[in-house]
Structure formats: C-alpha cells, structure tokens
C-alpha cells in the first residue's frame, strides 16, 4: 500500500500535466470555453425557478429549491461521470500502460480529478447564488463546512472509478450496466424532490439505504442551511467511503497484475 502510494507520488507531475490537458481539451474550439460549465447550472436554475416550483407548488421559494437541486445535481453528476468515464479509463490510457509500469490508480485519478474540477465549477454557481440570495456574509463559513464532505465525495468517486475501470477490462458490459443502474439510482435519490416526499409515504428507508444520499447530504446540508451536518451523517458518509475504498483496494491488489494481459 505504502509502496503503491510512493509510486503514485513519483508520477504526480505526469498526472497533473494530463489533468490540465484534459481540462483544456474539454472546451477546445468552443466559443464560450469554460463558460459552458457555468452555463448549464445557470440555465437549469432559470428553468427550475420558473417552471418546476409552480409544478411542485410547495409554496417554498424557488431559489432555495433551485439551489438544492443544483447542489444535488453537481454531486450526482460528479459521481456518475467519474464512474462512467472510469469504465473507459484503461482503454484511453492503454498506450501509457503498455509503456510504463506506473500504478493503474494514477489513470483513474486522472479521470476523477478532471470530473472534480468540472463539478466544482457548477457548485460555485450555487455558492454565488446562495451568497446573493441570502445576502449572507457568512457564505464563506458554509463553503468551509463543505470541505470535509467534498473530500469524502472525491475519495468515493476515485474509488468508484477504479472499481469500474478494473471491472470493465474483465467484463465489457459494465458501462452499459452502470448506465442503467445510474438512471434508477437517480430517481431513487432525493435530488429533484425533497426527502420529505418519501418520508410522508413511509418510504424513508429507501433514502436511508442509499449511499449516494449520504455522500450528497454532507455537501448539501452545510451549503443550504449553514449548519454542520450531524455526526451521524458524517459516520454514514465515512462508512460509504470506507466500503468503496476497501473494495477498490481489494480489486487493485487482486487484478493489477492481470490487467495488462487482458487489455
């Protein structure tokens, strides 16, 4: 494990250079450039505030509804995209893999870091929105409270990308399977609707059993309410991360010497 980590540290420059490249390439030849990362959440905010708040008609204010949805979406798409792009990770980096004996987790980290930067941009739109709407000078405190949750989220995404990458090499249908599963989990997670909707129907257990929910709340609660998430929430979130990392580490140890022969 320590050996693995030190080998990864040795190639940090390589990793960071490629992440920078990925970032630049994402918006190559586009007029708006990085603005597209911001455009998406802004456009969604408008739609939500104008249309959806009326449909739901909860009487709640549309801005906080939009903020809640956008935070949820940012976290959700980060997890989903990291995992799904993770599936193709080893085939995209095949040329490097065949040339240099560097740890495979460097490549999945490339995937996760690229997605993280993109999602942070989307999240920053929400932060600005909250700051303006609440006209609250303590918005920086909210951001600070988000940090532990974001860190846990990032580790979870990296682990998920690693698991997906290794699984895909040995079972090519993984990506399609995950796409279907992602669609299901998306609807089961309180992203577009408040959690109370399920609690009212005695279906709260669906949410409690959903690991994505716990990871999401660690980011959403501090940003929207300004309170620190409860200890129980941190425990649940850490538990999810612990399981994912354990799985990822197990898979790496089990398969890292066999990937090159199957790729």
């Amino acid at each position: 494990m320590i050996q693995h980590a030190s080998a990864m540290w040795k190639f940090r420059h390589f990793l960071m250079a490629l992440v920078k490249l990925d970032l630049r390439q994402r918006y190559r030849k586009s007029v708006l450039g990085i603005g597209w990362s911001l455009m998406n959440p802004i456009a969604m905010t408008i739609v939500f505030t104008v249309v959806f708040s009326k449909v739901l008609g909860a009487g709640a204010d549309p801005i906080s509804y939009a903020a809640s949805v956008l935070t949820g979406m940012a976290v959700w798409s980060f997890l989903r995209d990291s995992t799904l792009t993770g599936c193709r990770c080893f085939s995209t980096n095949e040329a490097y893999i065949r040339q240099s004996p560097i740890p495979y987790t460097v490549y999945t980290l490339r995937t996760a870091l690229g997605q993280a930067i993109h999602s942070l941009l989307a999240l920053s739109v929400v932060v600005v929105m909250v700051a303006i709407y609440q006209s609250d000078s303590a918005v920086l405190l909210r951001v600070a409270l988000m940090v532990p949750g974001l860190l846990l989220l990032f580790i979870a995404a990296w682990a998920a990308a690693t698991i997906a990458a290794f699984t895909t090499v040995f079972f090519h249908d993984t990506q399609h399977l995950l796409e279907v599963m992602a669609q299901i989990v998306f609807f089961l997670t309180p992203i577009m609707y408040p959690r109370g909707l399920l609690d009212d129907k005695q279906m709260g257990w669906i949410v409690d059993a959903n690991p994505v929910y716990w990871l999401m709340e660690l980011t959403r609660t501090p940003l929207l309410t300004g309170h620190m998430p409860s200890m129980q929430m941190y425990l649940a979130g850490s538990g999810v991360v612990f399981v994912l990392v354990g799985l990822a580490a197990g898979i790496v140890a089990w398969l890292q010497k066999r990937v090159i022969f199957v790729l």
């Binding site: 040795k10 190639f11 420059h13 390589f14 250079a17 490629l18 490249l21 390439q25 190559r28 040329a95 490097y96 893999i97 065949r98 040339q99 240099s100 004996p101 560097i102 090519h172 010497k257 090159i260 022969f261 199957v262």
Partner: protein, 277 residues
C-alpha cells in the same frame, strides 16, 4: 548499482479466439457442448533465468514471436511474471513502442513534457532538457503544432528524441534504430551508442546480428519463450546462424517433397457453367 535478477520467471496468459464473449458463453462455459470460443494458454516466457550486473551488455536474438520483446517488457516491469521472480534495480529507460502514446491534440512541446514526466523527470530536471530535446528532433516550428498533424516519421523523431534524453542506469532497447531519414538515422545511431556507453547495464533486442556482436558481451538466443543458448556473442550468433540455415534447408526440402508428391500438371479447374449461372 544497477542489476537484473530474473529467477525462473514465466509469463503465461490466456486469450480467447474472439474478443467478444457472448452471454450464453458466459453462463454455460462449454457445459454441454465444446466451447465455441475456447481459451488458449499462451506461454510467452517459460522458466527464464538471467542475472546481470553493472557493465553487462546483453543481446537477445531469436525469430519473431520467440518472446524477446516479452522478456524486455518483463524487465521493464510492464508484464508481471506469472511465476518466478523478476527484479530490476536502477533507473530504467525502455525504448520500445515509443511512437505510440502521444496526446494527439496536444502540441509537440506539451508532449515532450508529458513523456518526460512519464519517464520520471521533474519540472526542475526537465527545464534544461526541453531545448536539447527540441534541437535533437530538428522539428523546429512544428513543435507548436498538435501531434495529430505530424507524419509518422516526425512522430518517431520526436519520440526518439524524448526517450533518449534520459540518463538511464538500465537501458532496454527494442530495435528502434530505424528512425526517420538517412541523416537522422546517423544521428540516432550515434546517440544510441552514447547512451549505451553511459548506461550501466543494457539489454538489447535486435535482428541485426552484427550490431549484437559489436556491442554485447553476452547473448541470449530465444525460441518459443525459452532460452536455447546463452554465452559469448560469437558462439551464440554462430549457432543461431547455423540453425537458421538448417531450418531454411529443411523447409526447402519439405517444399520440394510436397511439390514432387503432387501431380506435375494439376488439371486446370473447369468452370461448371451450370453452377456459375
């Protein structure tokens, strides 16, 4: 100190005939009938033993598919041994498959950076080398263009210039000398020679037996993943040559026998008009 210690190492992997495995195949795994997509065991290397110390220059010869490149990749740490042990100490520089692994959308300059980092350079050590790499490649202004616009020759030039900018302790070479045009080839050869003299330990795979005889102090002759003979370059190369001639003669004899067995003038195939219609 640089050293290579390979002890009873084997590389075996399984391959399937078709890349795709169907769901039926997955579930039944040849339960009732013989599998239509059988797994084939490939013994790329079998029980290899090799020890090398500072100053050793090892040449590997053999026919295509003998496992020469696999052995190099084993030494480079890309293939893990499926049995036995393989340990290499010292900073390794491997020169094989160098023309792949460019980021196509990035410029030549950027690719110099990625490749060098991949070879273990740091921003500090790279600073001094960038210019030197660029000069050696002679690509000039082309370096500001994306690599996808390069010709195959230009890619090779760039790859070679980057790969040989390292100061390796252990140098692994797989016949990369066919780089670019004549003028560049002469330069490349000179550079290879310089690298070979700097490196403490070298393993080179080549079909050019003269190069092997000139540069190596020990030669491994491989066939079907096994070492047939190991020893002084003169002896091994001579044995290898004799074997190659004998094989060629045997093949010729076989062909002659086959030709004799056939009727001298095989009847020309008659087109069946009805069938064609």
């Amino acid at each position: 100190m640089a050293s290579i210690e390979v002890c009873g190492a084997s590389v075996t992997f399984t391959a399937t005939q078709n890349k795709q495995t169907t769901l039926k195949e997955y579930l039944l795994k040849g339960l009732f009938r013989r599998s239509v997509n059988p797994q084939i065991q490939i013994h790329a290397l079998t029980d290899i033993n090799l020890t090398a110390r500072d100053g050793d220059r090892i040449g590997i010869i053999g026919h295509n598919g003998a496992g020469k490149t696999t052995l190099l990749k084993l030494l480079a740490g890309i293939y893990p041994p499926t049995a036995g042990k393989a340990a290499v100490e010292g900073r390794v520089c491997s020169l094989f498959d160098i023309s792949v692994g460019f980021e196509n959308e990035a410029t030549g300059w950027e690719n110099i950076i990625y490749r060098s980092f991949l070879q273990g350079e740091s921003p500090a050590t790279l600073k001094g080398k960038m210019q030197e790499i660029a000069e050696f490649s002679e690509l000039g202004e082309f370096l500001t263009l994306p690599v996808k616009n390069y010709s195959a020759g230009m890619r090779m030039r760039l790859a070679f210039s980057i790969a040989t900018a390292a100061e390796p302790e252990v140098l692994l070479v797989d016949e990369v000398l066919a780089v670019g045009d004549m003028a560049f080839q002469i330069k490349a050869k000179a550079r290879m020679k310089a690298m070979m003299s700097i490196s403490r330990l070298m393993v080179v795979v080549s079909h050019d037996l003269n190069t092997i005889k000139d540069t190596c102090n020990r030669v491994l002759w491989m066939r079907r993943g096994q070492v047939v003979q190991e020893g002084a370059p003169q002896d091994v190369v001579r044995a290898y040559n004799r074997d190659a001639i004998e094989r060629a003669a045997a093949t010729e004899a076989q062909l002659a026998a086959a030709a004799a067995a056939k009727p001298a003038n095989p009847p020309a195939p008659v087109l069946d008009a009805a069938k064609v219609a």
